[in-house]
């Protein structure tokens, strides 16, 4: 998913506890009429971090972003930007700039004037405006498009204008509200790289809202997964993917087989779970008790055709060629379906639809979720 860094990209910023906090959200609640949109949100975003808010639509991620930008007023709680409480400060007084979902370029202004807008309303001197606008357009590789109107640009070019328009103001925090949603896949992947490059070059804090887990994973230093107005898990992409703490995260991030069952054996962190008469070996991050109801999470790509701690037998119900992988759906004897993504190179011996097949996985690749 993530493209390997090219030469021009500086190395990723090392984030640790010594990095100053850029945005601090403390116990923020937001209620629209009677509908709660944010419930006790608390998080610290570090300076220079690429931070994503990931979740399904209506989970509150955009409300949280708009609260940071000053477009929504939290019902209670505080938001600090660069250590300063921004409560009551309107959007034009905050060191943030936002890239809007529909981009919201000014239709009556050309590319140059769109980018210059922020500097003009702040009454910066003319020479400075010209230099910075040209610099910003160069940054997003749009030199030569100064006099085009937004309606004469392609989707990707509009995207770049929106970025230049926000970045020219050198915001401490750049807020991005699903700005890539309207682009086709190829262009989106290109923009991912572009965003990452910009963020590393400039070193601003990026707060990125998306419902696309692939997008969040490939770009972010850390991700907050949101659902129903709360943060359900916060961590690095690896954390979120490898160590989901809830059924919701396991299913929302990546493709996952879930097996509900009971713990029947415990050997340290390794447990055996019985689910519908099948024994599954798994690793548990938290202590569990015998007989406890748990869920075993196995990612599609962690299932294979070779030897493993657990072997599941059934018949091939469906197979789909996905390019790098082949997706196999196997029906167990009880009728339930298990899906595996097998590397295309390893899938040569895969049985045809209707034929028996055995899928295996190791205890280290499966994980126990408690309740």
């Amino acid at each position: 998913m993530a493209n390997p860094p090219t030469k021009e990209m500086p190395a990723a910023i090392q984030l640790d506890t010594a990095t100053p906090i850029s945005v601090s959200v403390r116990n923020v609640y937001k209620t629209f009429d009677t509908t709660p949109a944010l419930k006790d949100i608390a998080l610290d975003i570090r300076r220079g971090e690429f931070f994503s808010l990931l979740g399904p639509s209506g989970c509150g991620k955009t409300t949280l972003l708009r609260s940071i930008g000053g477009f929504e007023t939290p019902t209670s709680g505080t938001i600090l930007i660069d250590g300063k409480d921004v409560g009551g400060i309107p959007p034009y007084g905050r060191p943030t700039n936002m890239i809007f979902q529909q981009l919201a370029l000014f239709p009556h202004l050309d590319v140059y004037e769109n980018v210059a807008f922020g500097l003009r309303v702040q009454k910066k001197p003319k020479e400075q405006i010209d230099g910075r606008v040209k610099g910003a357009l160069a940054l997003v590789r749009l030199e030569g498009y100064e006099r085009r109107m937004p309606s004469q640009l392609s989707g990707g070019q509009r995207q770049r204008v929106a970025m230049a328009r926000a970045l020219v103001n050198e915001p401490s925090v750049l807020l991005l509200d699903e700005p890539l949603g309207s682009l086709d896949l190829q262009l989106r992947l290109q923009m991912h790289e572009e965003l990452r490059r910009l963020q590393r070059t400039l070193g601003n804090t990026f707060v990125f809202v998306t419902h696309d887990q692939g997008e969040a994973m490939s770009m972010s230093d850390r991700i907050a997964v949101m659902n129903g107005g709360v943060i359900v898990q916060l961590g690095t992409p690896e954390d979120i993917y490898e160590r989901p703490q809830s059924r919701f995260v396991a299913q929302f991030v990546g493709h996952t087989n879930l097996f509900d069952g009971k713990v029947i054996r415990i050997e340290g962190s390794r447990v055996t779970v019985e689910s519908d008469g099948i024994s599954l070996a798994a690793t548990t991050p938290t202590p569990v008790e015998l007989g406890q109801a748990v869920t075993v999470v196995v990612r599609y790509e962690r299932l294979g055709l070779g030897a493993g701690d657990t072997t599941l037998r059934g018949n091939v119900a469906e197979r789909m060629f996905l390019g790098g992988t082949v997706r196999v759906v196997m029906a167990l004897s009880g009728g339930r379906l298990v899906t595996a993504d097998i590397a295309s190179t390893a899938a040569t011996g895969l049985p045809a639809i209707g034929e028996p097949v055995a899928l295996t996985f190791n205890a280290s690749d499966s994980r126990v979720l408690v309740a």
Binding site: P90, Y92, T96, F106, F117, V121, A166
Partner: protein, 283 residues
């Protein structure tokens, strides 16, 4: 009814793209109907234009040769010229007031508030209220207040009252269609409320504003019934034309009518042009 005319024009445009059908009984009937329709619609206007050049002391056919004499008469008569000036001045002022009011009303309609439907109903009421009733109501109203009739007092109020609903309908669509995110983006980039208005909202809706001004001007320029009721000494063009017919034979009347038609349609046509530009921009 400029607004209705605009939709009618759209219909004509789309009809031109439909495939041609072969001639049968129905299409012949339709052809005759359409011909008659346009004949009755534009025939009288054509005849007025023709009569305005008729070298005859009596308004009417037969045509006794072409002359520009009646136009000279019109331009030589101070009462007709002052009526023309009155109508144009009044048209511009009432258009400006109605457009400004429509703009602020439209802005207020971008938020929901209690009584919004009532306000909308009151603004649109003059459209459904018969002109003669409107005139009487205004006359009584001004009588109670003790306001003496005058061009820039009672007549102006009557015109704004008549023009406002149309101005509102013309402008409101554009205002409601304005993407709120564009304003938020401006604010996000550092613009204060007044800067958002001056640098973003007004420039974007400018074509719609100009169109509204021109439509409003045309409507005010043609207004007769309400004006008749609340008028003082200064007359407007429609009132002068009317009294000319009532009082005496007026051979210069067709020439005056043609001038009126030209001014009024010029306003509306420019309005259409700007409205088309506005909707193109919105796309």
């Amino acid at each position: 009814m400029s607004v209705l005319a605009a939709t009618a024009l759209d219909d004509v445009g789309s009809a031109a793209q439909r495939p041609r059908r072969s001639l049968n009984g129905w299409s012949i009937a339709l052809f005759i109907y359409a011909t008659a329709f346009y004949l009755f619609l534009y025939g009288p206007i054509a005849i007025i234009v023709l009569l305005s050049f008729n070298n005859s002391e009596v308004t009417g056919l037969p045509f006794r040769g072409a002359t520009t004499h009646w136009y000279e008469v019109v331009f030589a008569r101070p009462d007709l010229m002052s009526a023309l000036f009155n109508s144009i001045a009044l048209g511009f002022i009432s258009a400006a007031i109605a457009t400004a009011m429509a703009f602020f009303l439209g802005l207020s309609f971008r938020r929901d508030y209690v009584g919004q439907q009532l306000v909308l109903g009151l603004v649109l009421l003059p459209i459904i209220l018969p002109g003669i009733l409107g005139g009487i109501v205004l006359l009584i109203f001004f009588g109670y207040l003790g306001i003496r009739p005058g061009l820039y007092t009672t007549v102006l109020v009557a015109h704004v009252n008549w023009v406002l609903p149309f101005a509102f309908l013309t402008l409101n669509g554009r205002l409601q269609g304005l993407d709120r995110a564009v304003e938020e983006a401006a604010m996000d980039l550092g613009a204060r409320t007044h800067q958002v208005m001056l640098r973003v909202v007004l420039p974007i809706i400018r074509p719609a504003l100009v169109a509204t001004l021109l439509f409003s001007f045309s409507l005010s320029f043609d207004e007769f019934i309400r004006t008749l009721f609340v008028m003082g000494y200064d007359r407007t063009v429609p009132v002068v034309l009317w009294s000319a017919i009532v009082d005496r034979l007026a051979p210069e009347l067709p020439a005056m009518a043609v001038i009126t038609i030209l001014i009024s349609t010029a306003g509306s046509l420019c309005g259409f042009a700007f409205a088309a530009r506005a909707s193109k921009r919105q796309a």
